[in-house]
Symmetry: C2
Subunit: 369 residues, 2 copies
Amino acid sequence: MTQNDPRQTPLAQSLPATVPFVAPERMEELRGAAFDARLGANELSFGPSPKALAAMQAALAGVWKYGEPENRDLRLALAAHHGIAPEEITVGEGIDGLLGNLVRLYVNPGEAVVTSAGSYPTFNYHVAGFGGVLHTVPYKGNFEDPEALIAKAQEVGAKLVYLSNPNNPMGSVHSAETVEAMIEAVPEGCLMVLDEAYTEFAPARSRPELDTSDRRVIRFRTFSKAYGMAGARVGYGIAHRSVAQSFDKIRNHFGVNRGAQAGALAALADQTYLAQTLERVAEGRNRLAQIAQSNGFVPLPSASNFVTMDCGRDGDYARALVTALDSHGIFVRMPGVAPLDRCIRVSVGLPEELEIFAERLPLALADLA
Amino acid sequence: MTQNDPRQTPLAQSLPATVPFVAPERMEELRGAAFDARLGANELSFGPSPKALAAMQAALAGVWKYGEPENRDLRLALAAHHGIAPEEITVGEGIDGLLGNLVRLYVNPGEAVVTSAGSYPTFNYHVAGFGGVLHTVPYKGNFEDPEALIAKAQEVGAKLVYLSNPNNPMGSVHSAETVEAMIEAVPEGCLMVLDEAYTEFAPARSRPELDTSDRRVIRFRTFSKAYGMAGARVGYGIAHRSVAQSFDKIRNHFGVNRGAQAGALAALADQTYLAQTLERVAEGRNRLAQIAQSNGFVPLPSASNFVTMDCGRDGDYARALVTALDSHGIFVRMPGVAPLDRCIRVSVGLPEELEIFAERLPLALADLA
């Protein structure tokens, strides 16, 4: 229970002390043992490219130096990779950190922001943290609903409208055409936030061409998912240079870890490893779908490194299942909002972790019966 | 030249795109060669404890996992080290990142903040970034002036009043008694920001006892200076728990690099290495003082890992000297504000770097003659 400090801003005093996620490390502490399968945070259990690991190891000798504050080498490499200019890229401490700065740049207290009910909680956390007013629209089945998002953005005069593609927590993905149509429909005065954290796992036809002449959208990518470096904290935004460069006005310039800069550069250069990763993840998704089916669940089609499984009952049942899996040594998460919360969300872990899941899911289900 | 985005907040649009510091890497790019001596960023050229390096290397195997978002192990170790509670500590991406969140928590747009003219620019950057109004008082000789800071804080109704002890860029330090008297005098409604980034280099008699029952002050420490891990990005704040815990309402919970968490923990545990570091830095300070004197400069007494040298002329002369040193392969910085800008600031580097400095300073001075 945090006591308020009356010297703080009214906004700061009004904020709850809740955190977006309870960490698996804390859950392990509570349960008194490590998980046997860490399948809840959509991490890449295979880890990053050995070349990225080697680069991070080599960078340790220079850890006494501050990182380069413009993230220049990485932005140059990303620019070459994407065929855009380095001024159209901003790098930060993960997409989470970038989302915070984005909200800070765009949202005055009391202004409206639109997202889907049940989508990424950390975005919502930052909107609340800067005093924005969050408006949500429901999913349409297992998909975020671009038309409803745009209609709501128009209705409330939103400064930002958020779409993740692929979507977390459902794993669904829209086509490039659908996303492009949403960008075309963004109301005047609003910026579309296209969170593509999982895009490397998705088919190319889900990715609109990068068009950095378009001021209506900022797209976020990360080294935390397909590149396997969640602990390093490197994400980036792609946008018109007037949008991308504005982050320089407020960001923590020396905030990115020096070794992480080197690791991201090496990871990006190893596209062969990325291709192998995508194959392994696809195999894992198939295996998870099998496991779901053989337990009577419906595996939702996934364009990500996780499979969301419709348990066919209500949120209370799924929550009880997550708890039962915890007691069997398995860490998974689930969507937080009805009706998505009829599902559990299982990350592609190592093959042996998936076999542990296959073995213990029936035991957890039996506990609930 | 950044173009404004009219959708952004008036505050964001009003901010300049200037950055607190030009990085040595960018200076090297401009001069077309690496520096022979990197003595400008107050880094610890000796690097961190080998045990910290080993911990960070071992942590690479887990870089695919997000860091633990509560920084719990590190806070527990820091609490034990300092004899306080973990709830009285907040960890962030360096003191820079913590200062940004502090200003966000305390300063409404238009509210007053007090610091010394010529003190830490990144603090000022964050005050401006949240729309605070910065009021400055001059140094008293080579010292920040606690009485003037408090008087100004009272006069303008400041929300925050900043003191660095030891001071950067002058290297001067106040006694614990002086700092305690300043804390006692902090006006109602104001929080004192005591930046102790360099405190490990300073005599113990400059450190007030930690009193986390006192809501009038927050103290910042870092692993970037005496612990030699500037590139890792780990700093922490020590305060009454109502102050320390409020950071949890707004911070980037997964912002600290996972390896950096492990490295900081190991660095803290190796106090023997820290003691060796302090000896080596003291030797380096002595050598820098000799070099200053043999070139007709006055080395200011330093409680830090740098020596500020009074060149005995004006700011234009010192700026020309910094440029001349750059052309001779030496990176140093200097205070930005008169009358402090009669000085150059030279970090304790490796012994061989100091000999390069000793050899080339006369050449740079000859260029100016």
